[in-house]
Amino acid sequence: MKALLLSPELFLHEGGIARIMRLYLKALCELAGPAGRVDALVLNDHPGHDGRLPRYTNAQFGEMAGCSRRKLRFIREAIRLGQRAEVLVCGHLHQLAVARLAQVLNPRLRYYLVAHGIEVWRPFSLLERRALLGARRILCISEYTRRQLLRFCPALPPERLVIVPNTLDPHFSPTLNNRISAAPFATPRILTVTRLSSADTYKGVDTLIEAMPLVRREFPLARLRIVGQGDDRPRLEALVQRLGVGFAVDFTGPLSDEALRAEYAACDLFALPSRKEGFGLVYLEAMIYGKACLGARAGGTPEVITAATGQLVEYGNIPDLAAAVADLVRHPRDSEVVRRHADTFAFPAFTRRLAADLA
């Protein structure tokens, strides 16, 4: 198989889409076969190889073209690399029109879209609709995303929308020396990991902070660790001060992979009560550490968090959220069951699913 991967980012920033698209790159390389070749074209990344690239590639990997956000160059490269490809996997709806253009110039090319979440839960422009209708398949990360796509583009044949849930990076699995964290002693220690962007207030970090006074009424040593950075941080810090819970909430800022692993290992439960998660890769990351997860009954989250692995609450319902934290502390989930659940989303299963859908 000769494949081309289009992605907004792979290594420039640590976002959810970048992480999952690296795994698409890895899976494509494994599926390419001895005579195959996989190229990657990335809009935002800079030219040149990132040190992590070898983790996600093998001998079948050909060219890595970073475009430093230059869109014209991205289009030109897509046309060039598309000429020799049979399969194009597009990592974002915004780039699908380019995939369609590449197909027009190379009619043998089949293109696929990875539909993550919020970017496809909306009405589409004419250009986007045409590009969607031309896709061989749309790889939806959850049933929820699939239904949203059908809602906003009813002309899509439902059988073309298949579900390929996100997967865990094999390099992220726990190791013994992860079990160290600089965080002070706390019970329970609640961890959340997300981008703190003012465009993403739906993530529910503010609701977690608002629940802390209630949580601490029952667990005076409870502590909330917020991992991530973004322009919404000042607002959240002000909220912490207003509620007088500064001594119970830590903003760690962005962390290295190693430090993040330590946070997962040290926490008692993971919480991201978000209203609009397409899937919620961070839940899986916490689960692989055997940690129970708390999410909102919204978006794709209920497809990841089950009763055996955590608890779902109504988005924005502060008393519900505090009660769920208390319940997860009093009735901890069996960490082995939680890990086994995460294993069902392991990379080999993801690769098999992708192989079937690209066939």
Binding site: R147, Y315, N317
Partner: protein, 631 residues
């Protein structure tokens, strides 16, 4: 029709459980004055009070299967019970009564949850499986009969037909939920599964609930709206009208099954006249019909109702409703609510009139507007939907300026349009937003900070937007709007109010248009058969053209409304002045008192008399918060 109650709990011992269930049953006595009973097994106690309609001499509940395994409490009526009884008897069930309750018990015992798809009727029931130590409960597809519940901290469950009963159990606390207040101000009612009280839930229509031996509670839908298309639809309009008439005849025939007197509400509009016509054609002996009339010009449909009664030869009863009477009855009306509602007082009086007129069951034309496109939304929303792509193409700055201009205008219409343009992305969101009572900016201004923050988080759209949108892939615009009207205003307001206010007078209200077989037949038919914007409800008119007088068929739609706008400035004014007083608003910490008082002041100074429903909705909420709990 009955009231049911239950408590499943390992934490409560038998006397405590029975005491709680007895309290709940007593609190619902008006729903079923004819009989009551209670049954306990293991951690479960079920209770009920019965309004005897079918086989009144038998049918005591809770009803237990002969082997002692299943015990049922059931609120509602199964109209096809006779046909099911024959099938179940052939399968080996030995019937001891001629009651629909025993048919439901047998159907569940033999087929489990699969029996639900065979039931034609209105129902909310709970069945305890003593062998599996498991509770199963379900509610009819469109939400005619209610079922409320609360999960208990020890993994148990409390359930009842009314919220007042749950509160009377003494097991849960009475605390108004600020989030629900925000929802109420948006929708005229609190949409299921939420209720006005924190921790108490409303099982949504077409949903089932199970509690297993470990106390785990699960809920989920057992029924969905049909697929948008089917191969066996009518080939032409003539066949469609013939088929529709057959379906209507069958539905009305099914809904008349009873061993007590059956009458009908007759407002004089198209829907109720069609129902009465079909009943009269179906061979009802001297049918009793009931209308409300008003002294105020422009509200009574007295002439149409009389014409219909005369045409069908019914024994027609009219009841004059005045502002003074409503004012005098307000304490009783407010006591009948189990959560606030901005609607339903007409049903209270119509039910009272019917019960006093000597019937125990009455049929109503509720549901006709939702099924046959009687609301302006069927005409307006598709037009607005076609404009949305053009709107989105305008530059962002221009769109923002237009929205700001609309929001600055004093009319609700302009602000509602601003909501559409800001928040609606497709027809589902338009249909969701069009049922809002208050524009978003006004709603938020009335809420205190905590409730406002929560309302902002949840946004202006209906809380079940995605459930409803996902239920209808590939649906046409008529189906989408019809589904929204059925799933929101009809289920959360009309049907809920109908249940509460008819039960307040121990009257069983039946709704032949809200009938699953009729809906499943009608749903996939071609949209242009069902709806013509120039002649709303033409399909119903044509299917009953031989029954409904032309004067009624050709009349413009008039809602079943009361002259509240006038009464609120006259007879109801003292009540409203007191309700909007600072002392009264003290019981509403989730409202911004000054803003709320301004709404009433604006109304009194007649700056916007069309706002009566919004003022009344607020007043009912405040009065509800000030209500003393019943003993």
């Amino acid at each position: 029709m009955c009231g049911i109650a239950g408590l499943i709990s390992l934490r409560h011992d038998l006397p405590a459980r029975e005491d709680a269930v007895n309290r709940m049953v007593r609190r619902q006595q008006h729903r079923g004055p004819d009989d009551r009973g209670i049954h306990s097994d293991g951690p479960a106690t079920l209770g009920m009070c019965r309004l005897a309609i079918i086989d009144p001499a038998n049918g005591h509940q809770p009803m237990t299967s002969p082997d002692g395994r299943f015990t049922l409490v059931f609120n509602g009526a199964i109209y096809n019970y006779r046909a099911l009884r024959i099938e179940l008897a052939l399968s080996g069930w030995d019937f001891h009564t001629h009651c629909d309750t025993e048919v439901l018990l047998a159907a569940y015992a033999l087929h489990g949850a699969a029996c639900l798809s065979r039931l034609r009727g209105m129902f909310a029931f709970a069945i305890w499986d003593a062998r599996e130590q498991r509770l199963f409960a379900a509610r009819d597809p469109l939400g005619i009969k209610p079922l409320y519940y609360a999960r208990l901290p020890d993994s148990g469950l409390l359930l009842a037909s009314e919220l007042n009963a749950l509160l009377a159990s003494g097991v849960v606390t009475r605390e108004i939920d600020p989030t629900s207040v925000g929802e109420y101000l948006a929708w005229f009612s609190v949409p299921a599964p939420r209720t006005i009280y924190r921790g108490l839930a409303n099982l949504p229509p077409g949903h089932q609930l199970t509690v297993d031996a470990a106390g785990r509670v699960e809920t989920g839908p057992w029924w969905h709206l049909p697929a948008p298309t089917r191969p066996d639809i009518a080939a032409n309009y003539h066949d469609f009208v013939g088929g529709l008439r057959a379906q209507l005849d069958e539905s009305v025939r099914a809904h008349r099954v009873a061993d007590v007197p059956v009458g009908a509400f007759l407002s004089g509009g198209m829907d109720s006249t069609a129902i009465v016509g079909l009943m009269a054609r179906g061979g009802a002996a001297k049918l009793k019909t009931f209308s409300l009339i008003f002294g105020e010009a422009g509200f009574s449909e007295q002439d149409s109702a009389r014409l219909a009664a005369q045409t069908f030869g019914t024994e027609h009863h009219e009841e004059l409703i005045t502002g003074a009477r409503v004012a005098a009855d307000l304490p009783r009306l407010l006591a009948a609510f189990d959560q606030p509602t901005g609607d339903g007082i007409n049903t209270y009086y119509a039910s009272q009139t019917a019960r006093r007129g000597g019937v125990t069951v009455a049929l109503s034309g509720l549901g006709g507007d939702e099924l046959f496109g009687g609301y302006p939304s069927f005409r307006d929303l598709p037009r607005l939907h076609r404009l949305l792509p053009l709107w989105r193409r305008l530059p962002g700055g221009m769109r923002r300026a237009i929205v700001e201009q609309l929001r600055a205008r004093p009319t609700v219409r302009a602000r509602k349009l601003a909501d559409f343009l800001t928040h609606a992305r497709d027809l589902h969101e338009l249909a969701s937003l069009q049922r809002r009572v208050l524009p978003e900016t006004v709603r938020l201004s009335l809420l205190a900070p905590e409730a406002r923050a929560q309302a902002e988080r949840l946004g202006p759209n209906h809380p079940r937007l995605e459930d409803f949108a996902f239920e209808l892939p590939g649906a046409d615009p008529f189906q989408i709007i019809s589904a929204w009207e059925l799933r929101t205003y009809m289920a959360d307001v009309l049907l809920r109010d109908s249940d509460v206010f008819s039960m307040a007078h121990s009257l069983e209200l039946r709704v032949p248009f809200v009938d699953r077989p009729l809906l499943e037949w009608l749903w996939p038919q071609r949209p242009w058969f069902k709806y013509d914007p120039r002649r709303p409800k033409h399909a119903l008119a044509d299917a009953t053209a031989d029954l409904v007088p032309a004067a009624i068929r050709n009349r413009r739609k008039q809602g079943f409304a009361l002259p509240f706008a006038h009464w609120m400035l006259a007879e109801l004014r003292p009540f409203l002045d007191e309700t909007f007083s600072t002392a009264s608003l003290g019981a509403c910490p989730w409202l911004q008192a000054a803003e709320v008082q301004q709404v009433w002041t604006d109304y009194k100074t007649r700056r916007d008399t069309r706002a009566w429903s919004r003022v009344w909705t607020l007043a009912v909420l405040i009065a509800f918060a000030n209500r003393r709990p019943a003993p």
